[in-house]
């Protein structure tokens, strides 16, 4: 068994990892649909999204690995970061790691996160880090499409049958609990803003709500009340689901130390 790598506690690195891991873990969840979607066309569409997200996470993890080397830690490659960290060093938002649920759950989570990512990429195009700005320019095109795809399905399901509406409402109620985490600032955001690396997450809240309002309105789904619950994945404290996800994801790297793939 390979022991875990250690990540230096540098706020800019954490900022990058929060984004990279959110893409990675959402991609991991979406990949689970391949072979199991409601229609064959959707198997392909969800896989495309998963591939985009995995591609984004690869670019971001590579960048984060270089940052790690620059801020007092070791330099790492994308796979060391993706497969050899302890759970507490994964910084994705909890929303991304929740089990894929039914199709309504997947669609609405995609809507929330693709909208959030779209707003994030738009702002990251102006990052002081040229590499990050370039990643954002490319990822933005992908997130726009993901958002459109999710929004169209959200409307179909919200304004489809009684059952699809009931399932959408249930999924929305659960997912909404995890959204405050997407918009609350801490020291990491302060450092990133000061360095010009990227926006404080709180800046995305208003435009995100406006876009969600529009889609949910068209889907005839009520925006749930603001939750008091707080998830904390981005600080490394995850839901119980994360351990299982990582056990599966990391298994080969851990079981075959020194392997070449």
């Amino acid at each position: 068994m390979i022991s875990s790598i250690k990540i230096p506690a540098a706020p800019e690195l954490t900022y990058l990892l929060r984004l990279a891991d959110t893409c990675l873990i959402l991609g991991q969840r979406l990949g689970e649909w391949c072979g199991h979607a409601p229609i064959l066309e959707e198997d392909i569409a969800l896989s495309n999204m998963a591939l985009d997200l995995i591609g984004q996470s690869r670019a971001l993890l590579t960048l984060a690995g270089q940052h790690s080397g620059k801020c007092g830690g070791e330099g790492y490659d994308e796979d060391q970061l993706a497969f050899l960290r302890d759970e507490i060093d994964y910084r994705n938002v909890t929303l991304a790691e929740l089990p894929r649920g039914d199709f309504a759950f997947t669609v609405l989570r995609n809507l929330m996160l693709s909208t959030w990512l779209k707003l994030m990429w738009e702002r990251l195009r102006d990052s002081s880090d040229a590499e990050l700005a370039a990643i954002a320019g490319k990822a933005l095109k992908e997130a726009r499409y993901h958002q459109q795809h999710a929004a169209d399905w959200a409307v179909r399901l919200g304004d489809g049958t009684d059952e699809s509406r009931r399932r959408s409402e249930a999924a929305l109620a659960t997912l909404w609990l995890y959204t405050p985490e997407l918009f609350e600032d801490d020291a990491v955001d302060a450092a990133a803003t000061a360095a010009g690396l990227g926006p404080a997450w709180s800046q995305l809240h208003e435009p995100w709500l406006a876009e969600m309002d529009e889609v949910l309105g068209e889907a005839k789904l009520a925006v749930p009340p603001a939750p008091t619950f707080r998830s904390t994945g981005k600080r490394g404290l995850h839901s119980e689901h994360m351990g299982y996800l990582l056990a599966e994801m990391q298994y080969l790297q851990r079981a075959y130390p020194g392997g070449a793939w």
């Binding site: 591939l51 985009d52 490319k138 095109k141 499409y145």
Partner: protein, 88 residues
């Protein structure tokens, strides 16, 4: 307005070759024959009402098609194999 698709010979795809005006489907398919297959170009024609075609928005071009750019692993050339098995 109708869009015309012609198959040049059995086995091949119908390819879009142009448009024409006609009042009804029957007239359209006859016109397609007369307008687009005068030089033995066809073995079959399809006509579709132009307003029935749903097209991607030109403004969406980037988000529709650019994401395929970096998926290099979909191409056989991405995998470098030893010469003796490279024709695989």
């Amino acid at each position: 307005m109708w869009e015309v698709f012609v198959r040049t010979k059995a086995g091949l795809d119908h390819k879009h070759c142009g448009s024409l005006h006609a009042a009804d489907p029957k007239m359209a398919v006859q016109m397609a024959r007369d307008v687009y297959t005068r030089r033995q170009e066809g073995s079959s024609v399809w006509v579709v009402r132009s307003d029935q075609i749903v097209a991607s928005d030109p403004n969406d071009k980037d988000m529709y098609f650019d994401p395929a750019e970096d998926k290099v692993y979909r191409h056989p050339t991405f995998y470098k194999l030893p010469d003796s098995v490279d024709h695989m």
